[in-house]
Point group: C2
Chain length 404, copies 2
């Protein structure tokens, strides 16, 4: 594992792999006039994998993509921000289909090879009179260096662009995996929409790609705050176009572990950027729970803490209000025995056996004042462990979310 990690190089740009082009343009959906329509294309047919929201209410593009994913081959992804195209009934499905059909027509593809994502307000019909010219404009702007524009166009309330590129060797050749993402409201997938697009020139077996992406998403995007509930639009899509020309990657191939590790590294990188850039957030907080009866209960306990509004607001200040953490653990569905709970802040004990550990308050305050810190919670009941990445909840969060 150390050997594999050493081979993977990560950089904080969005460098499209060979055989990919992208574009980001302003179609007019955002009142601000910012870029709001992105297009990604692989010049070769690519294996495609996808992970979608589990919400019972699903946006039209999600419904469409899920169906098309069965085909297993993708060429292009068209994305708009500023409108979620959710809860728009049959018209929503028509509009999503039309976005893919127009993209296909302009690029000489079939629409079944084109995938579509939307993010923004729910319940307003897509303004197709803006979307259509936007798609034409995006097709004209496609370029191998268009990644940054595309990554900008998918942003909504994000304050920072989120992208990264990893390179790693397969069969002695250097392969590239680049990704970009947009964050969600309070960085809880249930609350706002998260989108991520991963592009690689690796040559990957389609079912293996899907398995690999799903597992990596579980350990990254699905670890970002709260409860795993998702918005109507959450989508992660990955294209592998094989331009690197090596033998087909699948479990059993000597370099599969490197590929798998690269995907995990990139998805975690993007997920942490989402957590750090939660709406109004000033702090990245990692909540680690161990000692639960099992992993599922560790997860429930960690999410109860990460999801508690009283806990999240307490992090804005510097007072380490661990009583609220005890309270959240106590009402979580996980088994908790008060007298066994230990809580540490970046290694400093705050609670031991359910009561104050006696660490000097000033030292705990110094930790909570940091831009990032880790809460380590040990339930001392069993082998279960889980981690959730989250952030504080500030007044700015509220302001962002009641504005029309």
């Amino acid at each position: 594992m150390m050997r594999n990690k050493a081979k993977i190089i990560i950089c904080e740009t969005f460098r499209l792999p060979p055989g990919f082009r992208a574009a980001g343009v302003a179609a007019g959906l955002k009142k601000s006039g910012r870029k709001d329509l992105a297009l990604f294309i692989s010049d070769l047919p690519a294996a495609i994998a996808g992970v979608f929201t589990t919400n019972q209410v699903q946006a039209a593009p999600v419904k469409l993509d899920r169906r098309r994913l069965a085909g297993g081959v993708g060429r292009a992804i068209v994305v708009n921000s500023g409108n979620a195209n959710a809860c728009n009934g049959p018209r929503g499905l028509c509009d999503a289909d039309r976005m893919t059909a127009l993209t296909a027509e302009l690029l000489g593809l079939t629409k079944l090879q084109v995938f579509v994502c939307s993010t923004g307000r729910i319940g307003l019909p897509l303004p197709m009179d803006m979307i259509e010219p936007g798609i034409r404009q995006a097709v004209a702007a496609l370029a191998p260096r268009g990644g940054r524009d595309a990554a900008t166009a998918i942003m909504t309330t994000d304050t920072r662009i989120k992208h990264a590129t990893v390179t790693f060797p397969v069969n002695g050749r250097t392969v590239t995996l680049a990704g970009c993402a947009k964050g969600s409201g309070m960085i809880e997938p249930k609350m706002g929409t998260m989108l991520a697009f991963l592009l690689t020139d690796a040559n990957v077996d389609r079912p293996s790609l899907q398995t690999c992406l799903a597992a990596a998403a579980d350990d990254s995007f699905n670890r970002v705050s709260v409860d795993g509930d998702r918005s109507t639009n959450d989508t992660v899509l990955m294209l592998a176009n094989g331009a690197a020309g090596h033998a087909l990657l699948r479990p059993g191939h000597a370099d599969w572990p490197v590929f798998d590790a690269a995907v995990r590294q990139l998805t975690l990188n993007l997920a942490l950027k989402m957590a750090r850039d939660g709406e109004g957030a000033t702090k990245l907080v990692t909540v680690r729970v161990c000692g639960a009866r099992n992993d599922a209960e560790a997860d429930l306990a960690a999410r109860a803490v990460a999801n508690s509004l009283l806990v999240k607001t307490s992090w804005v200040g510097d007072y380490p209000n661990w009583g609220r953490i005890m309270d959240a653990l106590g009402y979580s569905p996980a088994k908790v025995v008060e007298e066994r709970v230990d809580i540490g802040y970046d290694g400093l004990p705050a609670v031991r056996g359910g009561v104050r550990a006696g660490t000097e308050l000033a030292r705990l305050k110094r930790i909570q004042r940091q831009k990032a810190f880790t809460l380590a919670i040990n339930l001392n009941l069993g082998p279960g462990a889980a981690v959730v990445y989250t952030c504080d909840c500030t007044e700015e969060y509220v302001r962002i979310n009641y504005a029309e």
Copy 2:
């Protein structure tokens, strides 16, 4: 039922029934110097009933009271605000016990007849050097008209005192039932502590009193926002001292329905005051769900909406962001079929069959601008119904909760 209601008179004061005295004093636990210690006493042995938090982490006074409740007889309740006496280990239990023992000693009772509640910060030992003189002071101040002082002393972040008194006839005599309460943080019992004390001179069978109180609490306090999870300290206690001198009330007595209705009316009155006075809240929102597959699912759906931070923040402004309600319904554990959902704002349709109903935006905005409004959600899947009372989440809420 109409006949019974007509007999019950409610007034917005806290008039102690015959045979009760109360006091509220400043013991010094609140830095502000405000009243923080309350005492209620019945001059006669009273039947006692109680409902407590279901949190796995329970404050010392909760542990003590639960045990004592089995005795069935209560004479006094001593309450402090400013410190929760939770997560204090064996010392916490000792201190809680000492509070009851000292109260008993001063009043000539046995400590098993004295109940105790605390509310405030978790994890700090009780300052017994302030509590003990406070109790002496409260005993000296006990008076038949001390209700208002007591109701003031139990407040924490409450901005308004919460109390009411109902009177109703039993066997032709007028009986009084008076109650006071303190609200919880964001009016979600899981997030802050709620306490309520109900005092009556009715003569009530003890087991019937417990059943009646538990059912009334379920339909009132447990309907206030969110998820029914509770803080470490939530407690509702009721004393019935029989001073009215009528025949024992229990189901089967002709006036039992009047008594039961009076208890329900008072608990709902206090619960709505909590919802309206949630920390930083500006609006009382009633979320009614019908058409769920069953009542339990209606409850889950209503709580998902009432508990969604994105929904709660959207209520601060006037834009009726029903898309966020659809999203919350979609990720709730209740079965939801997007195409069947109807949502109304005070009777005006906003969503029909999962899509915009076409009501003019300005009319919906006018409703959301009100101090109180009702969301009526019909899932159109079955007979299940539920209601939750909640409030908006403002910047003020965040400010209150990160202050040390």
